[in-house]
Structure formats: C-alpha cells, structure tokens
C-alpha cells in the first residue's frame, strides 16, 4: 500500500467537490458573468479528474480548447450582449420548484442504475498515463475519417459564424 493509494481518494474528492460546487454555483447564481466563471471552475475540476484518470493529453487539450477557447468565447458573448452587468433573469418560483424535482428524480434513477449493475472492471486499472504517441497513432489510424470530417466541419463553422455575426452595414 504505497503512498498514493491513500492520496488518490483525497485528490479525487477534492476535484469532485470543486466540480460539483461550481456546477451548483452555475445553477444558483443569477449574474451571468459569475455563471461563466463557475464554468471555469467546472472545466478546471474536470481537467484535474482527467489527470487522475491517466488521460494527461486530454486534460491538456481540455484546458487549452475548452477553458482557454470556448470559455473566452462565452465570456465575450456575455459581454457583448448584456447591456448592463446586472441583468437579472430570475425564473419564477413554480418553474424552479418543478425543475429541481425533475432533476432529483432523474439523478435518483441514474444513481440506482449505476450502482445496480456490476461493471466488469478490468483486473487492474491502467496506471500509466496514455502517451501522446499512442493517442496520435490511434487518432491517425483508426480514427482518420472522423479526424478529416471534423476539420471540414470546423471550416464550415468558422465561415458560418463569421457570416452570421457580421454587422449588416
């Protein structure tokens, strides 16, 4: 039982706590700029979990693309479209209650399913992080077609977004 057997649970619960706290923060907060910041907390927490799950490359990609790119995009969107920073979009009482009950019911159902099935877990989970070379080879051999399609899709999205957002003067 070497040192990181007792260290891993602590770190896992730490990151899970960060993720859940920021997710609940997003739900509760009214100010949209704060919601965007809580999203940063979730993305960071999930990236930490990827490191724990031996997926280093994915964690780095998540940080660059998601936290560095998409989140900046969302914050830009927030700033350009909200006239005053204190935009209050308070949902009415009844809607909130209904939504939370549905959420809890859904969570209970999922939890039951997850704990019910005994996943045939591999003998010993992988303890070496997937190296960049492995991911690279796989990406360009088995997954070559989706790789090319994804690049085409990105091109289309870029042109579409530019066209949609241009001012009409």
């Amino acid at each position: 039982m070497n040192v990181n057997t007792w260290l891993e649970p602590i770190v896992f619960f730490l990151f899970a706590g960060v993720v859940l706290f920021s997710a609940i923060g997003i739900v509760l907060t009214r100010n949209i700029v704060r919601a965007a910041l809580f999203l940063l907390g979730t993305l960071g927490g999930v990236a930490g979990l990827y490191f724990l799950l031996m997926a280093n490359l994915l964690a780095a990609i998540q940080l660059i693309v998601y936290a560095g790119g998409t989140l900046v995009l969302i914050v830009f969107g927030v700033m350009l479209t909200s006239k005053s920073p204190w935009v209050r979009f308070a949902p009415s009482r009844s809607e909130a209650a209904a939504a939370t009950t549905i959420g809890l019911v859904l969570f209970a159902a999922l939890a039951k399913i997850v704990t019910g099935i005994d996943w045939t877990v591999a003998a010993h989970p992988a303890d070496q992080p997937a190296t960049v070379r492995q991911v690279g080879n796989l990406l360009l051999q088995q997954y070559l077609v989706p790789f090319e399609v994804a690049s085409v899709l990105l091109l289309v999205v870029m042109i579409g977004a530019a066209y949609l957002a241009r001012p009409e003067n």
Binding site: L57, A60, G68, P85
Partner: protein
Amino acid sequence: MSQATIPWIEPVPEKRVAMRRKALLVLFGGGLTALIVGCVMLGVFRALPDQVGTIVFILAGVLPILGGLGLIPLGLLNGSVVLTTLGFAQIGIGALVGGLLKATPIDPLVVGVLLLVIGPIAAGLAMLTAAGVIVAFKQVVQLLLMRWTALILFCGGIVSIILLVWAHAFVFRYVAQLANDTTLNTSATTTFGGDLTIAELSTRFSGNWRPVAFVLWPLQFGLIRDLIAMGGVIGFISIIPLYTIWWERKVAGRIQSRLGPMRVGGWHGWAQSFADGMKLICKEDFVPPEGDGTLFRLAPYLAFVPAICAFIALPFATTYVFRDLDVALLFILAMLGIEVLGVIIAGWASNNKWSVYGAMREACQMVSYEIPMGMALLVPVMTAGALRLTDIAKLQQDGFGSWLAWNNPFCLIAFFCYYTASLASCKRAPFDLPESESELVAGFHTEYSGFRWSLFFFAEYAAMFAVSGLAVILFLGAWYGPLPLSWAPAGNDIASAVVRGLLFDGPILFILKCGLLLYVQIWIRWTLPRIRIDQVLYACIQVLLPLTMLVVLGSTFWLLFDNSAHPAFESFAKVVRGLLSLVGVVISIAIAGFIIFGFVNRRRLVGTLAIEHFPGS
C-alpha cells in the same frame, strides 16, 4: 548615504518604545523557555530510554488537554476569543497525538523527538534571532547599507541557491535509494505507508549521528518531497519579477542615457523592487463601489495563478523539473491561455468605460496571438517528434550546430514568428495596447492599486520568463552550452561537476539564455513605439498566421525528405544546417562585438559635452 525608512513605523515615539519593549519581552521569554524545554526533553530521553513511550504520551497527549481545559474558562471569563480558540486547539492537538500514539504502532520516540525536542529548539532559536534583530535594529540597517553588502548578498545568494538546490537533489536521491534498499526493509511499516522506520534508518548512522535519522525520516514520503520542491519553485518565481523589474528600470535608464534607480539600498538601488513591494502592500485597498466586488478581488488571482502553474511543467535542467509531464508544452500553453480570463474579468468588474475598452482590446490580442504562437511551436515539436520538453532538449546536446533553431530554415523563421507572437501574448513591447497611456488611461488595471496591481505585474513578468523559457528550450539548445556535451568531463567529483554545470549542461546556462531573451524584450520595449489596435490584429490575422502555416507546411516537407530514404536531400540538409549554424555564429559574434564596442567607448558615444556644465549655469 540613503536613509533606510520603514513605512509602517509607529509615529508616536512613546508608543513605539512600549511596543518594542513588549515585543522584546515576548520574544526573549518565549525563546528561552522553548530552548529549556527542548534541552530538558533531550536529557530525559537520553537518561531513561525505556520509559520514553509513557513520557511522550503524558507530555504530548495529556498535558495539552489539561492546558486547554485551563485556558477555556480563562478566555471565556475576560471574553478574549483568542484564548478560548487557543484552549480548544490545545485540547484538539492533545487528543490527536494521544489517539495516534494509542491506536497506531507509531514509534513514540519519533513523535517525542519531533514534537518535544526538535520543535521547541527550532522555535526558541527563531524567536531569539528575531529579538536580536529588533535589539540591534540600527546596526542591521547600517550593515545593509554598507558598500559591499549588495555584492555579498548577490553572490552569496546565488551560490547558496546553487548549493541548496544541489544538496536537496543529493539528499532526495539518497533517501529514495535508502527507501528501496532491501537490506534495511523489515516488515514493520509505519502508519503512513512509509516502509522505513526510524530504527532501521538509525542503523545506517552510528552513535551521535542518530538525530539525522529523525530529520531524514519524513523525506521518504513523495508528498513531502514535492511540497519542498514546490516551495523552491514558487521561491524562484517570486524572485524573477522582483529582479526583472529592477533590471528593466536599469536597462531603460541606460537606453535613455540616465542612471535608473540608484538610491534605495546602496549599490545601484538593488532593493528598489523590495521597497516598491512594501509601498504597494501599504497602499489603500480600493474597490470601485458599483463594480462587482467579488469578481474585482478574484481577477488578479485568475491572472496570477496560471502564470505560476506554467512553471510546474517548465524544466530548468534534465533533473531540475517539478513534474516532467508528457504534455509539458501543451500544459504551459494552456496556462498562458487561461490568463486572458483574469484580464477580461478585471476590465469588466472595475465598471469603468476605459477599462472595458482595455479589457476588450487585450482579450482580442491575446486570443488571436495564441494561434500563431501554437503553430510556430509546432515546427520544433515536429523536428523533435515529442511534446516532452526534456526529450526535445536531449536532441540539442551536441553543440551549437545541433540547436533546433539552425536545424532547418523553417525552424529559424518559426523562432522569429514565435518570439513576436509571444511578445503580443504577454502584452509587451510594441503590442502593449492595454496600457497605452495616450488613449486609455491605464487599460484594464486602471482601478487597481496596491497589492492587487502588483499581482498583475507579477503575472506579466512570470509569463515573460515562461515564454522566453519555452523559446530557449525549443530553439536555442535548452540548458546545453555551445560546446557539445561529449567534450564535457564525465567524472562526478566536485570539480568536473562544477565545470559541467557551468559550461556544458545545467540550470545556470538555461537561466542565462532566458536572461538574454528577457533583455531583448526589455530592449524592444524601450525603443519601439506602440502599434494601433487594428494594425495589431492585421499583423496577426493577415501576416503572422499565413506565415506560420507556410512554415509548418514547409517543415513537414523538409522532414519528409530529410531522412536516409533520400540521400541527396539529406546531404543538402546537412549543408543547410551547417550554413544556418554559421549564420547563428555570425549573429552572436556580431552581438558580442556590438556590446563590447558600446562598452569600450561608452563616454565618447554619448558625447563629452553632456557631462560637464557650462560655467555660470
């Protein structure tokens, strides 16, 4: 000589004397008692080695609980919150230590020595030195202001840092080697999973060296070693901004034919940054009323923490790296990417028209310059074939010619593209739009003052160092000297280690090269005017991006052909590599000559008339 003033000295003289006397009383009293307790315990442990367990249990477990029980009513009586919390804390510690001793097979000697001998002695010494400084306050200041203090502090600091780093590496290696040395490894394992108990460790040391075992024992845990290493890294990172700010002001002064800071702290104002730091800490903590308070306070940390995290994956030498990640390069780029958020939130939360302008411009610039920076970094990664920075550095071992910058022409162009893009992504030199005083008063950090403002500065200078560190590792032969490593003396005695460390391969070379690139950034900042925002974006989208794409394309073709399958192209590539390294040599000699020429006739260049005044004026 300059008067050393400490800003927060209590103005009223009588109060100051009283405060000083009270502080002296507390420090001397506490120091002496702690020292006595430590020595008595040491004597007791040596006198009755067998009852050690009970003594430790009583002293470390029961005594604090009794003390706590005594303190709580006292605190409640005269309503002092500190005393009550102290009381509860003591009870807590007592219960914890008692429980630990009882439940787990912890070696009582370990707890006893750590808690009751080493702890008090260390605390006593600390308090006594503090008291000494207060008593001899005047002499300390005089000492600081002597002519040679700066030099001694400077050289002493560097030598001690090198020794410290080397010693900690040696000790860590020794303990790690001990940990998996089977002869010592008996079945008894301590609670925290460490497989070496003090007893086994102490067999290694004879007689009176046994306390060393106690010190080494905690080092066997990876977590403790990481914490110490992280302390070292953060220490180094906090030195960089202080030093670079001072250096920038001196270089700017020299460029503008003036002297720069000369007065604070004696020789060439070396303590100017410390003084600024103290001043900033004492500044009023202003938060704009309508702005979003929490976001306003959070923004500097959003900018500062990523800049520090980038240093986790940045190696200073093959062994001196905190975490040698497989995706080190991507991780550093990610951290520099997140800094943008801190800036945007700062601009948004200070609720002022100008800072929103600055934040928007800043965000566009940093986000758009990340793409060419990433593309330019692709080229050396492709030639080296790995993302792990230490592997890339290994490729550049054999001398000046092997540096990646001269590997192929595309690498050279990529180096310059990367350097310009990195200038923009750290908001430096011609791209420092946000702080362009002429239009926006101070960009996104207009409303910030005091410590928060200096956090932004720390982030900027740390990012500057990280970015130039990347440039050095990927293009300029990381921590290897211009001479190939094969010529280095191989022995591991002190002399050859020092020679190898200085000339061939070691963190000092890396820091020197980073210093050179930092100098270039500073040099550019103080000579070039600022670019307009539309020119900045034009330069990025229509010039730098297509250029970097072409360079990546070119280098892929170059790599495709530059292998044994095409001997003709390979020989041509060798020739090109030779030529490029020749270009590199010429450039460096030119720079060296330029510097020497500038230094030799530094008076003539400026013109003698500038020095002596015209009589009567």
